[in-house]
Symmetry: C2
Subunit: 275 residues, 2 copies
């Protein structure tokens, strides 16, 4: 990090990573943020390791070239499938969403049994299972491919969404996982369904939002990079500066992004990675 004010690059396949940016803005308001949404090639959740890794490394290089001193891979699928490849390709520190999510789940689960919801690709990679196993936690990973399109349709409180969530959770909390007591939202779209999932999940279950735990992991990284007193002074001194890059329509990013970020999005630039 060359300047004392950090430049944090946040990468996602599309809009979902804005929930991670939102959590970051609360904990680290005094930073420059570059958000890259690969909206032309989303969703990553149904794609293969090779394809996701290639796309994610391209985006990481783009963010570094634009001054990011720390990279946050805000996409669960990209983290699960390609964090090692991105870390190897990057010159700066890289923080993914899986380890912080697993860490948070491990700290709240008393029964040492956790359910993880994710995309098909995240679940197939077993990245969460491995991260939880390393912490002595037994987990069941459940692919929920309909939840992302339901969120994108804006049906976050729709009876159909509740019905589908109930089908997924009934399957996940069955058999050996009735006593699981933590539910990891292993996809950045799912925080928009938090209220609904709270109603549908068994009442003894805590919901773990990877966005929040990732923001805390970023704070720890920054504390290593910047002396704490300086970091605190910075925090008091200035507001965040935000710049957004999207590979598909800028207009659409401006229109849909606020749903995830919670406030308006202005400075969006179109990026064509082939150029």
């Amino acid at each position: 990090m060359t300047s004392r004010r950090p430049t944090i690059g946040v990468f996602d396949s599309g809009f979902g990573g804005l929930t991670v940016l939102k959590a970051l803005l609360e904990l680290v308001p005094s930073a420059d943020y570059l958000y890259f949404g690969d909206t032309a090639r989303l969703p990553y959740g149904s794609k293969s390791v090779e394809t996701v890794a290639r796309y994610a490394v391209e985006a990481a290089h783009y963010l570094e070239a634009h001054g990011a001193g720390l990279l946050v891979i805000a996409c669960n699928t990209a983290t699960a499938l390609a964090l090692d490849r991105i870390t190897a390709a990057a010159q700066v520190p890289v923080v993914g969403v899986v380890e912080p999510g697993a860490e948070a789940a491990a700290s709240v689960s008393k029964n040492r049994k956790v359910v993880v919801l994710g995309t098909e690709a995240t679940v197939s990679s077993h990245a969460y299972r491995k991260a939880l196993e390393a912490r002595g936690i037994d987990s069941r990973e459940k692919a929920c491919p309909l939840l992302v399109p339901l969120v994108e349709e804006g049906w976050v409180e729709h009876p159909v969404t509740e019905q589908i969530a109930r089908i997924y959770l009934d399957e996940a909390f069955a058999d050996g996982f009735r006593e699981a007591d933590a539910l990891v939202l292993g996809c950045t779209h799912y925080p928009l369904l938090k209220a609904l999932l709270h109603r549908v999940a068994p009442s003894h279950v805590s919901i773990v939002d990877s966005a929040e735990s990732t923001a805390r992991a970023v704070v720890r990284h920054l504390q290593k990079l910047l002396p704490p007193t300086e970091a605190i002074q910075e925090e008091r001194r200035a507001l965040p500066r935000l710049k957004f890059f999207a590979t598909d329509s800028v207009e659409k990013f401006r229109r849909l992004g606020p749903r995830f970020l919670g406030h308006p999005i202005e400075d969006v630039q179109h990026v064509d990675l082939k150029e």
Copy 2:
């Protein structure tokens, strides 16, 4: 077309176009088929004109370079957003799915009112509305973004899918369109929901499957390219030869493709359009 046995290039964003290939195989069994599924970048249905046009033109060039003498754009979104650009870029004749679908709807609709279901991008382009207007037909286009993921989840006869289809169709067949008497399946995933949509749509409605009408349009094109007697001889002489190209995982294409094509898929080759 240089040889007497046609080589037909079929392009789609993913798997859905296999329903068009299936219809083609029934009408034109004696041909070589090259099917290109841009599975790494699917779905197109939520992307912008610029992005879809660029992707589709790349794929069209690929198919031409591999010997296609006729291109079928089996993706409604690519046809709706980019048929003119693909036609301008290609050296060979190009057949899209929108005109044949509109033609078939015009021929079955007695009330001259038609409902078209499609992706968000297809509906926003109003390609069907324009094609139907040109035939004196009044239309309502309804975006159904959840139907593709429901088909991909395999929930083609699921009560949740029926409920969602009912919501979409109730909205579409409301107000001035209660007497609409044709329903165009303006996305290649929807033919898999044909039985369910028959149950949910008003009983007086005919369902128009663009896949079938596109296959008939291809036959007409081939008759222009090949003298009819030769075409008929060819048809009697040989079985189809099929070759598939996919930009994402070949294994996944082999696994999911048969759901749309109706029979096993063997010869799949991975394509990286950046190479």
